[in-house]
Subunit: 359 residues, 4 copies
């Protein structure tokens, strides 16, 4: 990228090379194979993919930390929501690049990898400190992590990194901030509008109507009842909270109902940005899964499924892809939506409150 | 990526972190804005995009250099052609990633960039030493480069880099190796087959037939003659070489005719790999143009077209996108193709020579 | 995609196949080569790429038309801006797919194309009625179109399509709606804030400071004056309007200054959505250019630069990529930005007006 | 895409519009919502994504069928392998586009989908006849398919499609052709080289060496023995064939050992193309999994996990992603590779046979 304008001069003129510390950066590739004889050509691409990934991980952490700082205000000023959104969207753009970056690694074939992979033992991508920090900061709970041969993930880390990672487990995560932000969503209950009660009435009426229509068809009625049992949790806060205790849900009832409200009434001006923020969160959670799935496929192709002490990388990665989704409750919003046509219009006074002063 | 197997132990156990030199790598981001007060948030993404790009540039150079070494054999053993192909294709996969990486930079807005861009002056992406090395190694000639305010590109480089870049200008480039490799293509002229003569006869016969059919339509005939004048260069080697002298073509006549032969007879077993190699070269040349075009668009959006002393970045980048294509002669192969149905079958003895011993 | 729930029954059960009219859709590929003998294999991929492109073009038109309808309200209700944004972003996602789709077409080689391309004459992608409708609806002016051998683009269309396309030239375009919407942006001039006057004062003060600092350096001063002459147009409305008359700018002065205001004060809550809408417009305009550039490259590779009566496809496409950008004024916003730190805070009463009633 | 040259004239001039049957194609979007009142805006994007997907499915089938025809020769002429490769690679490029195309569908939100999804019942993507044909032609076995509520997939198809799909189950698949082609690979056993015996000896020697080194470490020895038990199948053909009978492997022992040979000796000229073909097959199998995983994620986001009679679309799709991989044996090649340095050089006479006549 070029910059216009007057150029500096003299001894302390700034060079692109120095600004980017390229002397250090471009000398930090020291293939292990060099210690065993000739450099094995493909070890360099292996290093390049991992080093660029780590630079991106640093950037993701930097953006995530800045979002946490912005969300650590009570309330979060409306004007900061635009910044939160743009940084979340940036994280997602980086994630998509990281998925594509695995295409580059796949240009290394299993046979090429075999030529040096044993030289790297026991080093492994499992040890990416920054990726653990990202997971923890994003909101992954230790209780939801897979154990590796019965050990916690920190068992593989260098001593001085254990502290760092442990601290990140204990600090408020992005999930915690989103939970708090949603819980404080105003307007769900006002003088003349009670979203939760209204929503429950609508759901019950809809289900009763279906029941009536199926009264002569006990088989289909049974299927229907099995299906709608999922609604118990939104109709009865105590059911929801029991699910939370059992670990099958994670957002509090209030936070979830707020997310539902924002989705259903997303066209109200004051909900535009919260809706876009929720969408960005789901995009990010989804992209983590995509990356894990892509990573698992690549590991399968590169390593086969032969396992030594560490278990198959493929199986591990594939399982994490399916269980490491802190915001899966937001995916389940889709389960509980009602058609817009069946929603009541908001009372005028509330709709007015959700608009700009000057509209 | 995980690795199975027995784990090292003791003091010199290898950690992922140390193998990748992450202490150095992750501490090499020193935003200039920190010297002027608070760090400006978006300077970090600016650094991340440029540092990852430079790591990829190093990798591209590494692959390119290894290809040059393999091609610096006479003849190039058939078994090495598979390796050449895989490394060229890897370069192309990296290039495609670099194009997409500009999406990440575009998450930085012009207003964000404005907050720190003057602090970086006169540093500029123009100064990317590695990109200049890639251009030179790939085959860009200094005579084809745009001047920047009348200066050569090396004028902007740090003193100790000038030598390095100048040396790369003088070393045989990938273009030179491809030229030599094509020039030595066997089979164009054998005891009972003369590709060039055969091809010329076919072209002339085809043009004569069209002329006859247009004899009563002088207007369309004139248009036709204007169009086919492009064929003079393949019909007459001296015309081609004059174009080369004038700089409008660059491959020698012999090399170009070999490329044409490989394209037309690509289904012969011995030409499978040469054809895939030629395709990979065109893919790479095309991807350089895509990257320059994408870069120009981003510069336009980020900087507008206000120009200081350096000329508009957009205009410069956009012009390079259109003139920096060392292998544009290979794009022009399409101009001179003939329908397969009109090609003569190769004599049996030659077809036999182009096949495997054991077929 | 699956859907849950009770299944229909009986005679009018809906099949996926019938819903999508696949009988018609999958029988609409009639290769021209079949009329000349055997079907040429690659004609099918040629048809597939063009047919899917046309389905996407229809979708783009549909989204664009719906946006025009929403914007054809005065004023545009705030709640509709979210819908406008989501549809513009969808158009951009489709555009990015269309760029990638050209990778599929590039799996057809020039030699394969040569086998049937003359059978298609004079049919040509130039004749895509829907693409012309998209261009016109987006805002491309006939005066800015390249002539093809001196003829207007409609000269190549089927008779009954000429009317359709001509009508789209005469209807208000998306550009017209954006121009009107921007022109009506409130808050640029309030009782105690005059954005244009404030902005001009800042610019002048900044330029004067630079002039003073260069007073002893006439050479650099001259360069500076040449550079800042671009600001004449924003400092003096009559200069801007003269540029508009001469065709070098297109947005009115008022609309442009509103776009500048929205960019500079994008963090104010009421400007969040307008800012995102402006960003989406630039994304779309940029993606059109990307598609044209990618298309031009592919044409070069596929056809070479041999030209008959119609001129080289490459040259034509490449020129349109650089001149067909209705919103290029929005790219130039970057030229006129000022660092946020130099901007005055908005008066409290105005900032208050730009926020939600309930904040 | 433009075409040069002389233009047709008169009554039967060919128009782009007619060539592509755009009258039919662009009138084949009949939203179901129109029958229930106003068209719901997002039903159109739903139709567009599915129709373009079906056009691509047709193209994939067309390429696959042509590959089957080429492979249905005994032996497959070397010159046809280049064509097979290019068509397999084209299928992969289309698959990658299909994955990205789901980004477009995701611009439709769950709430938008809810507005019309019940109108489409019981139609469902499960009913895509062409996708079933692709799966069967590629080599998916009915025994490996998930049952949907106990029913076979053909239960959901329109009557006249059942036959078509059933026929495709019974015809030789791409898998069958690859199996046969691999089984016939020459050179695995020649007068002075026996690949299988050589390979087995190497593996046994390597394992014995490890056993010796672990003789004092019974714990690690046990882990090692558990790991290498995977090699029983390559060391003993009867073990392999028992796995095949039990359905955990599918390629015959001979075919698999040929694949292993091609991977290990891929640099021999005659194995260049077979190696690239094997790589393309793995790419395609992998891309099917990517598409299914991406599809599952989208279904989760769009539908939540509420299930009616049909089971959750997400769970179904996600399970197919993990079990529908006809060529998973080729992924497992990585498990059985040996480092190149440990492989014996081929005898000169064999290496000679694997080269071109004229080398």
């Amino acid at each position: 990228m070029s910059s216009e304008g007057d150029q500096g001069e003299g001894a302390d003129v700034l060079y692109y090379w120095d600004y980017l510390h390229l002397d250090g950066l471009l000398n930090a590739q020291t293939p292990k194979s060099a210690e065993h004889g000739d450099v094995i050509h493909d070890e360099l691409i292996f290093i390049a993919v991992h080093q660029t990934s780590e630079l991106w991980f640093k950037q993701v952490l930097f953006e995530l930390d800045s979002v946490l700082k912005l969300m650590d205000q009570d309330p979060i000023p409306e004007r900061d929501l635009g910044i939160v959104l743009s940084r979340l969207q940036r994280i997602n753009v980086i994630q998509r690049l990281l998925v594509l970056q695995l295409d580059v690694l796949e240009t290394m074939t299993p046979l090429d990898f075999l030529d040096f992979r044993s030289m790297l033992l026991p080093a492994s991508g499992f040890q990416s400190v920054q990726f653990r920090l990202i997971e923890n900061t994003f909101g992954l709970l230790d209780r939801d992590r897979l154990r590796i041969e019965g050990h916690r993930y920190i068992a593989t880390l260098r001593h001085d990194h254990v502290d760092l990672v442990t601290r990140s487990e204990r600090s408020p995560s992005f999930f915690d901030h989103v939970e708090r932000w949603l819980s404080r969503t105003p307007f769900l209950q006002t003088r003349n509008f009670d979203f939760v009660a209204t929503y429950r009435d609508l759901v019950k009426a809809k289900h009763d109507a279906t029941r009536s229509s199926l009264v002569d068809n006990p088989e289909r009625l049974a299927v229907f009842e099995a299906g709608v049992s999922k609604f118990d949790a939104v109709l009865d806060e105590s059911v929801w909270e029991r699910d939370v205790e059992q670990g099958t849900r994670r957002l509090s009832y209030g936070a979830f109902m707020a997310a539902l409200f924002i989705n259903l009434y997303r066209d109200e001006p004051i909900l535009h940005m919260p809706y876009l923020v929720l969408t960005a969160i789901v995009d990010i959670d989804e992209a983590f899964t995509m990356w894990r799935e892509r990573h698992a496929l690549m590991a399968h192709r590169m390593l086969g499924r032969l396992t030594g002490t560490a278990g198959s990388g493929y199986d591990y990665l594939d399982q994490t892809a399916h269980s490491y989704a802190p915001f899966k409750d937001l995916f389940d919003v889709a389960t509980y939506l009602l058609p817009r046509a069946s929603l009541p219009r908001l009372p005028d006074s509330l709709a007015n409150d959700l608009d700009f002063r000057t509209s």
